[in-house]
């Protein structure tokens, strides 16, 4: 039986709520505990090894270690015996909240916090029962200790019990350890994937070797949406090492014995393209059209009171317009996909964040049932959302090329393909009008958002786009915690379409909404001649978690004391993916008007902490990622062509430009939030606000540039 995409989506109803209101629909989803087969998640072997199977992909965020900690906590095994593997694509590994196997939305740790602990507890209970049967005693009289079951002075190792335990059926219910007994959760644990990653042994998708495999590069349209009219491959075929040139829906694939030959072959192709309407695209004109749209309200996303009337009646009115450009993810490992079609099976090796969707897409192209699509997941050389593609384009393309070539093929993207390949964080314009009272506090707030919807026109549209509003376009704006103190507000959205494929990019909508909202709040503070920290405190008076984060970051940054000569500080706090992050940036400006960020003080409240060492790394990394975009990042188009191509013109931060980032973790009893993304969004406004404090120039466009 072949499952259509539609069937799968309907049966995976978990998508429904969770995708529509990111981070908020999950409570309802989590109440229904999944029935868990522990064998799918952990294997205890006679050689004493304990193998943890990851339902999600390791792309740097550290779940290779974090999820293993959850199992080990309950299993009470020897940490040094833990091995970790990526799980295959299979229904058992569906996301506990979304119902589809995937990695993203900063959801892995909170969504697996129960399941992986339950699995560990189940496995431990089975080992205890196996030991009890061996010794003919009651399981209750036994205890476990670091990989052993102990009975008075006797002990049996987990390895010795593994085979007997495997024959038992899993317990119907288990009791999880109370928090006070945790030995691992909350402790700083070093990464388990370090040994292979510092010796070159770690295998990424691009490193995969399959017998008889060839390497292919695909010539894709130079403008988005273009199609091949005709092509001449005679010169390409003449390149030594080139074996085949085949046409696939995305372009012309050059199949060779190695990358270099494939690249030379692709360079030698002559293709006549039917460029289509995409050839008109120009980001300068697009920005102007977005600004025009922002002058009038769009589709209603959120409202309270009569914002239009309140603005008219306000003591003072301020307005500002902010814009952000297209951004590429530029993962260090360019996209690649290896495919072998053989015996009615489609085997795929690729670093993907979207197993569930990719499996369906590959099945459709290969013409095999989804269960015959086997996805092997090597390490991902960065993800940031780039490998969670709604259209599975790079996986589908890999299958197309393998099918057309009739041999196992690894399709590799060059850096130029990556930077010019679309699937960007979309360009956005925000226009905010605020009416303030005598104290300068906002009483009216009208916010118009303009930018492409990521989910409209995709498989997820009917679940994720409600009444014309893609919740991800306005997340962090429509639900900003500042707005609770504003009596009348109206947030509306325009979602223009064009040929550029939009994509989730680390922190998604928050990557632009936080910049607009936190910049505007700062503008209001300065207009009211109030300290930006004190002003925010007044607006967030009934938000203790936000206040605590703000105060912690401010204190650590020395807020209120004089910064070193020639420097100033700015701050921002943002709530996303269930976590709250406050950041204070300390900046200077050099003689050539370049902005230099020296220090960033972060405070993060993500609820329960699992691995503080990993949280620190994620926050530092997210700040650097966000800062690259704030200071340098922009993809621009002229006559439909992307003007950037590689790291020389799509710049990202390098070591000399990287600030010291300090991270305070504020553990709380709040529901566990995510950590991979939330620290990305606040850095751009924190820096812009610091630049204003230093220069009195308000920068409202990203990347930030002083004139």
């Amino acid at each position: 039986m072949t499952l259509s995409r539609r069937d799968v989506l309907v049966s995976g109803a978990g998508l429904l709520i969770a995708f529509h209101v990111p981070g908020k629909g999950r409570a309802a989803q989590m109440d229904k505990k999944p029935s868990v087969d522990p064998n799918a998640f952990v294997r205890v072997a006679p050689d004493e090894s304990v193998t943890v199977l990851l339902a999600h992909s390791e792309m740097g965020q550290g779940i290779w270690t974090t999820l293993a900690m959850l199992i080990a906590e309950e299993l009470d095994c020897d940490w040094s015996k833990i091995r970790v593997e990526h799980a295959p694509a299979a229904p058992a590994y569906a996301h506990t909240a979304y119902g589809l196997q995937m990695t993203g939305g900063s959801t892995t740790t909170w969504s697996e916090f129960d399941r992986y602990r339950i699995v560990g507890a189940m496995a431990r209970a089975m080992l205890l029962r196996a030991a009890a049967e061996r010794w003919k005693v009651r399981p209750r009289s036994l205890r476990t200790e670091s990989g052993f079951v102990v009975h008075r002075t006797e002990q049996l190792s987990y390895g010795q019990l593994a085979e007997a335990a495997q024959r038992l059926s899993p317990p119907a219910s288990v009791e999880l350890k109370p928090k006070k007994d945790w030995k691992l959760i909350g402790k700083p644990m070093r990464r388990l994937d370090t040994p292979e990653k510092i010796t070159g042994k770690a295998q990424f998708g691009i490193d995969v070797q399959v017998p008889a495999m060839r390497t292919a590069l695909v010539a894709r349209s130079p403008v988005f949406g273009g199609k091949v009219k005709s092509f001449d491959a005679s010169k390409a075929r003449a390149v030594p090492g080139v074996e085949q040139v085949v046409q696939v829906p995305s372009g012309i694939a050059v199949v060779a014995t190695n990358f270099w030959s494939a690249k030379l072959g692709r360079d030698a192709l002559q293709i006549d393209w039917d460029l289509g309407a995409g050839a008109e695209l120009d980001t300068g004109k697009l920005l102007a059209s977005y600004r025009e749209l922002a002058k009038a309200p769009g589709t209603l996303a959120a409202a309270k009171g009569d914002a239009d009337a309140a603005l008219v009646g306000a003591a003072r009115r301020l307005e500002a317009e902010y814009d952000v450009p297209y951004l590429a993810h530029a993962t260090m490992e360019p996209l690649n996909c290896t495919v072998r079609l053989e015996g009615g099976r489609c085997e795929i090796w690729t670093g993907t964040q979207f197993h569930g969707v990719d499996q369906m897409a590959a099945a459709q192209v290969a013409g095999v049932p989804p269960q015959n699509v086997i996805i092997h997941t090597p390490f991902l050389g960065g993800g940031f959302g780039r490998r969670a593609t709604l259209d599975s384009h790079f996986v589908a393309e890999g299958v197309h090329v393998a099918k057309a070539a009739g041999v196992p093929v690894k399709v590799v993207w060059t850096r130029e393909d990556d930077i010019r390949g679309g699937h960007y964080r979309p360009m956005y314009v925000h226009r905010i009008e605020a009416g303030v009272d005598e104290k300068g506090l906002p009483q009216a707030w009208r916010h118009t958002v303009v930018g492409q919807s990521i989910l409209t026109g995709t498989l997820f549209e009917k679940f994720a786009v409600k009444d014309g509003v893609d919740a991800q376009s306005v997340e962090g704006a429509a639900d900003s915690p500042y707005l609770d103190a504003v009596a009348a507000r109206k947030i509306t959205l325009h979602s223009p379409r064009n040929q550029v494929p939009p994509q989730w990019w680390r922190s998604v909508g928050n990557s632009h909404t936080a910049f607009a909202v936190e910049s505007m709040i700062d503008e209001l503070a300065w207009a009211a001649r109030r300290d930006p920290l004190e002003f925010r405190g007044a607006l967030l008076a009934d938000k203790p978690r936000h206040l605590r984060a703000l105060e912690a970051a401010a204190t650590s940054a020395g807020w209120g004391t004089a910064p070193p000569e020639g420097r100033a500080r700015g701050l921002a706090v943002h709530d996303s993916f269930g976590s709250i992050v406050a950041e204070v940036a300390e900046v200077s400006v050099d003689a050539r008007k370049r902005i230099r960020v020296h220090k960033v003080s972060c405070a993060v409240d993500c609820g329960q902490v699992v691995n503080p060492l990993g949280i620190e790394a994620q926050v530092q990394g997210a700040v650097v990622f966000g800062l690259s975009a704030a200071l340098l990042g922009a993809v621009t188009l002229k006559e439909g062509r992307v003007e950037q191509s590689n790291f020389h013109d799509y710049r990202v931060l390098r070591m000399p430009e990287v600030p010291d980032v300090t991270v305070q973790i504020l553990e709380s009893d709040a529901k566990m939030g995510g950590i991979g993304e939330p620290a990305t969004a606040p850095i751009a406004p924190a820096v812009a606000n610091a630049v204003y404090a230093l220069t009195r120039q308000r920068l409202r466009s990203l990347p930030l540039r002083l004139t």
Binding site: P195, T199, T215, H329, G381, A617, M655, V658
Partner: protein
């Protein structure tokens, strides 16, 4: 042509102008060295040529013949080079893709300057991009490796 790769002599059949990177990865099966940009912008392909850090993605394989080529696989047999030890202790890696190049650049720096200043570290590492943003821990790990070496002397 013959390559002196990680202490062994390897015969490769490659056109002279093929970048060393692809000769190593596709012809020798040595995949610890990574492709990131193809134009010496990101440092993921860093290897040592007679002990000096070079970007193998723009170096024609012919110009490496007769020289000692060391990749991450040849830095130490078991991950015990001081830079690797410092990397592990500092918990540097995230996705890990750029780390072979980072480690090779750091090892070349410390071989030349056992006690580098912060500015020297920044300068030596400016050619290695990390999108995960591990820079701060890379810096810390280089300082740690430097002090480990001092302690040994």
């Amino acid at each position: 042509m013959k390559l002196e790769l990680n202490g062994q002599t390897r015969e490769v059949d490659a056109p002279d102008e093929m970048p060393l990177l692809w000769a190593l990865r596709d012809l020798c099966g040595v995949t610890g060295v990574k492709y990131g940009c193809g134009m010496a912008q990101c440092g993921a392909c860093t290897v040592h040529l007679d002990g000096k850090a070079v970007r193998s993605c723009v170096l024609p394989v012919a110009s490496a013949a007769g020289k000692k080529i060391t990749t991450i696989e040849g830095l130490s047999p078991d991950g015990s080079h001081p830079v690797q030890v410092a990397w592990a202790e500092t918990d540097v890696v995230q996705c890990g893709y750029c780390q072979s190049g980072q480690i090779m650049s750091a090892a070349a720096l410390l071989a030349e300057k056992p006690d580098p200043s912060d500015e020297e570290i920044d300068r030596a590492m400016a050619g290695n991009i990390c999108r995960c943003g591990t820079y701060q821990r890379v810096r810390d790990a280089i300082r740690r490796a430097s002090s480990m070496r001092r302690a040994r002397r």
